[in-house]
């Protein structure tokens, strides 16, 4: 019956036994990253490919922060995380394969 | 109607037809297996009173057999097709020294640009003929396909050639006719209300006749 106990617990009470995430700290990260992005793009001193790669890296970093903390993915059961990343392979396949038209 | 592919006049057409019939045999075996099995089961196991069905949840051995056998067949088929496909369609495998034409498709006609007596496209003696495609037999031909408005498809059944002509692209196709003859270019991609009548005459000449025809045409321009 332990299964039952677990279940009701997760349905009835909310899933926030974890300590409250530091929302303001994340906000600060996001702010700094945005400033850094704009800086990198507008100063335009680095080689083009470095700019592109670093901008993409920072964008992904920000997106992951939002998903993990604001959307609470970090604190969700891993099964839910699986749902959240499910479309990513399809996205990757779509974009990479269509791009191969030009690369091959 | 005969249940047959039309006579083949191109070099790689032989292999295409061969592959067609190889697949026909493989799928034919699978077809007979499935359909005969179904009929046999219907007859043999139809319900009888007092009879109880055999209780089973399956067999791992059988699952493995009917996964592995088709997979092997498909891998072999895939490798074989891949090689042939690369020979036919890969631009790096296009034959050297082929005579080149340009075909511009538009609603609903085929404009054939001939290289002229110097056999080089883009020079002064090029000329254009509407809906008439003449070329010599026995040597490779490359056609550069372009389209002006919408997508058309360059289809000569007897030469086993088909390739879409896409606006904004210049797509090479090659073939090598083994014999002389008269055929048609048909348009195989829906391109509007005249799609069904977008055809052009194809004449495959002996080399000498082709030269003569081209010379006379070039003069007339």
């Amino acid at each position: 019956m332990s299964e039952a106990g677990e279940h009701t617990a997760s349905v009835a009470s909310s899933d926030h036994e974890h300590e409250a995430p530091k929302y303001m700290l994340i906000w600060l990260y996001l702010f700094i990253l945005t400033v850094a992005e704009v800086g990198v793009a507008l100063l335009d001193v680095l080689p083009k490919w470095v700019i592109v790669v670093s901008l993409l890296a920072m964008a992904v970093w920000k997106a992951v922060l939002v998903a993990m903390y604001y959307m609470h993915l970090k604190f969700e059961p891993s099964r839910l995380r699986l749902v959240a990343v499910a479309p990513l392979p399809a996205v990757a396949i779509m974009i990479i394969v269509i791009m191969m038209e030009y690369v091959l | 109607m005969d249940w047959a592919l039309p006579p083949n006049y191109s070099t790689f057409g032989v292999q295409i037809d061969q592959l067609f019939w190889i697949i026909f045999v493989i799928t034919g075996i699978a077809f007979v297996l499935v359909e005969a099995g179904l009929i046999l089961f219907i007859v043999k196991y139809r319900s009888r009173t007092g009879h109880k069905a055999y209780y089973t949840h399956g067999s791992n051995k059988l699952e493995i057999i009917w996964t592995v056998v088709p997979a092997l067949v498909f891998v072999v088929l895939g490798v074989y097709s891949a090689g042939l496909w690369a020979d036919i369609k890969n631009p790096s495998n296009m034959p050297e020294g082929a005579i080149e034409f340009e075909v511009r498709a538009k609603q609903f006609e085929w404009n054939i640009v001939y290289p002229g007596p110097d056999e080089i496209l883009g020079t002064g003696d090029d000329f254009e003929v509407l809906n008439q495609f003449h070329f010599p037999a026995g040597e490779p031909v490359i056609v550069y396909l372009e389209a002006e408005d919408v997508i058309h498809s360059f289809f000569i059944p007897e030469l086993r050639v088909k390739q879409d002509a896409v606006p904004g692209m210049r797509i090479p196709v090659w073939f090598d006719a083994t014999q002389t003859g008269e055929f048609e270019i048909a348009c195989a991609e829906l391109c509007g209300l005249g799609h069904y009548r977008m055809e052009a005459a194809v004449t495959v000449h002996e080399r000498a006749d082709f030269d003569a025809w081209q010379a006379s045409r070039a003069l007339a321009q």
Partner: protein, 587 residues
């Protein structure tokens, strides 16, 4: 109990029957069973419409030089002095394909049966989001109305093929279709939204609301198929919507996403369309495979052979379905090296289909076959799907596809998988679940008549199309008599057309049986087929809310002829093992 009620928000009173107005009960209902029946009527109507368009097409193909009978009632823009116009023919092909795929078969497979069966077979009171479910039906209605209306606007209905290849579909000056193309895209966006909302519901319900004991591997194969289908739709439909919106902007706002003059890429449309389109064709077959597995097990009185292999095959088909789309584009000017990888993946995707085919045969092997109408349709599904699948192998082999691409060989293939596959399975499913839906049986006698006439005429219509394709007859041509290489095929075309008319008439046998049985059919018991899944353990039809008390599941989905069960040859999923027989265990 409490937790279960909490699981169904918005429908918290799952089983407290309220007095509801007629409108709330039958029209704007959020009961999944009513919604399913609404979908059934809508899709049968569109099946008849799509068929009618096919009949006009067939007439034109067989007798291009003769005026079409009754053509006079159509406006001059479609039929001029009795003759079908080429642009109207294009509209017929396009709308036949589109209506059949998007408004008949897909919503019939998913809208009707996912709605009807998921809550019943999983043992819940309703869907996770009943209101959303209602919206998903009511989005289909405007889509249908717009589609039908597009025939009567200036310029006629869309005429660029169901695949809407740009630039043809993007530029009215090149098709002569002004509004029709736009209307069809708008309808498509409605359909996409409807199907996404539906999928969210099906997936959530399946993941989170299964009855106690209904573990993943005790789910009936129908549910597996519908669940995976919903995932496919969820991931593929939005891409079509995105592409459709860009195409809509090309048509109306003067952008040029797919128009080379403005720097756009015609091939990008094809990539996006087929990235959706290939998963779409599996959306159209997977649920059918699920129904067939279940009907075959019931009809053979045996558990499904290789249940787990069947499940993994569905998953494999779905996964591979996302990496094969390029096989529709072998001749499109796509990079030939890319073509290579698509050949290999396409051939690989045939492996799970092979697994399924052989397991269906395994299910029938040493069974106790009851050849009732649903069973006949299910068996012929296997027979005909195999033909369609095998013709797919020809096309997957790229060199062969050079010749047969865009010929009637493809038309034969697609009707073998879509009609011989999906529609045959659907007929089977309608006969099979009719008693549950309407509380009455359909007539067996007329069912058999319908089956045999359909089976024979169907093959007469579509089998010869392989031959037409081999001869080289192109698709979507209004008149094939102008081509030298197509001489001598007109007899075949006429034979096909005559058979097609017959095939259409068989639809009326079905329609008659269907409507007659709703009112006059023999009253159905709870479980007329002696089936094991949960829906058969409720009254026919089940009441609002489905169950007083949620059932508890003890057994796998298709336990027929269990040796320990002595008094009957089936074991319902929710039968308490200790009640049935002392030794009866679950598997």
């Amino acid at each position: 109990m409490a937790t279960i009620v909490a699981e169904a928000p918005g429908q918290a009173t799952g089983h407290a029957e309220h007095e509801q107005s007629f409108l709330r009960k039958y029209i704007f209902s959020s009961d999944h069973k009513i919604i399913a029946i609404q979908f059934l009527f809508l899709t049968l109507f569109f099946l008849a419409v799509g068929g009618l368009l096919a009949m006009m097409m067939r007439y034109q193909i067989a007798w291009p030089d003769q005026p079409i009978p009754g053509g006079g009632i159509l406006p001059e823009s479609m039929v001029a002095s009795g003759y079908i116009l080429p642009e109207f023919y294009n509209a017929l092909v396009t709308m036949h394909g589109s209506i059949m795929v998007f408004l008949a078969i897909m919503p019939m497979l998913v809208g009707v049966y996912a709605n009807y069966l998921i809550p019943l077979q999983l043992g819940t009171h309703d869907m996770a989001f009943p209101r959303l479910n209602m919206y998903s039906f009511w989005l289909m209605v405007p889509a249908g109305i717009i589609t039908l209306a597009s025939f009567w606007v200036i310029g006629g209905a869309a005429g660029a093929g169901w695949t809407l290849y740009a630039p043809l579909s993007a530029r009215p000056d090149l098709t002569g279709v002004e509004l029709g193309q736009v209307m069809w895209l708008v309808a498509l966006i409605f359909i996409g939204l409807s199907s996404i909302l539906g999928s969210v519901n099906y997936i959530t319900t399946t993941i989170n609301m299964r009855a106690p004991g209904m573990t993943w591997f005790r789910m009936p194969l129908t549910i597996w198929a519908l669940f995976i289908t919903a995932i496919l739709a969820l991931l593929a439909m939005p891409v079509l919507s995105a592409a459709g919106i860009m195409l809509l902007f090309d048509q109306t706002l003067g952008t040029s996403f797919f128009l080379p003059e403005g720097g756009g890429q015609p091939l990008l449309w094809q990539h996006l369309f087929w990235f959706f389109g290939h998963p779409e064709v599996y959306i159209l077959i997977l649920p059918a495979m699920g129904f067939v597995s279940e009907i075959l097990a019931t009809g053979s009185r045996k558990p499904v052979f290789g249940y787990k292999a069947m499940v993994w095959a569905i998953v494999a088909i779905a996964f591979l379905g996302f990496i094969v789309w390029g096989h529709h584009m072998f001749m499109s000017g796509m990079n030939p090296t890319l073509g290579l990888s698509f050949t290999v993946s396409t051939l690989l995707i045939a492996v799970p289909s092979a697994i399924k085919t052989f397991n269906w045969m395994g299910t029938m092997w040493r069974g106790n076959l009851k050849l009732h109408t649903p069973m006949l349709f299910a068996i012929s599904f296997v027979a005909l799907f195999a033909i369609g699948g095998l013709s797919g192998v020809f096309m997957a082999a790229t060199p062969v596809d050079i010749y047969i691409h865009d010929t009637y060989f493809i038309v034969a293939h697609l009707h073998y998988v879509l009609f011989g596959g999906s529609l045959f399975a659907l007929f089977g499913a309608i006969y099979y679940w009719f008693p549950k839906m309407f509380g009455r049986m359909m007539s067996e006698k007329w069912g058999k008549v319908h089956f045999w006439t359909t089976f024979v005429l169907y093959n007469l219509v579509f089998f010869p199309m392989h031959g037409l394709g081999m001869v080289g007859m192109m698709r979507r041509i209004y008149d094939s008599t102008g081509y030298a290489h197509l001489e001598g095929i007109q007899d075949t075309n006429q034979l096909i057309t005559v058979a097609a008319f017959g095939l259409y008439l068989t639809g009326f046998i079905f329609a008659f049986n269907f409507f007659w049985s709703i009112f006059k059919g023999k009253k159905a018991s709870r479980n007329p087929w002696d089936a094991t899944t949960l829906e058969w353990q409720t009254p026919s039809p089940p009441k609002h809310g489905n169950w007083d008390e949620v059932p508890v599941v003890y057994h796998g989905p298709h336990e027929y002829s269990h040796p320990d069960v002595l008094d009957k040859d089936w074991l319902a999923q929710n039968e308490r093992p200790d009640v049935v027989s002392p030794a009866g265990g679950s598997h």
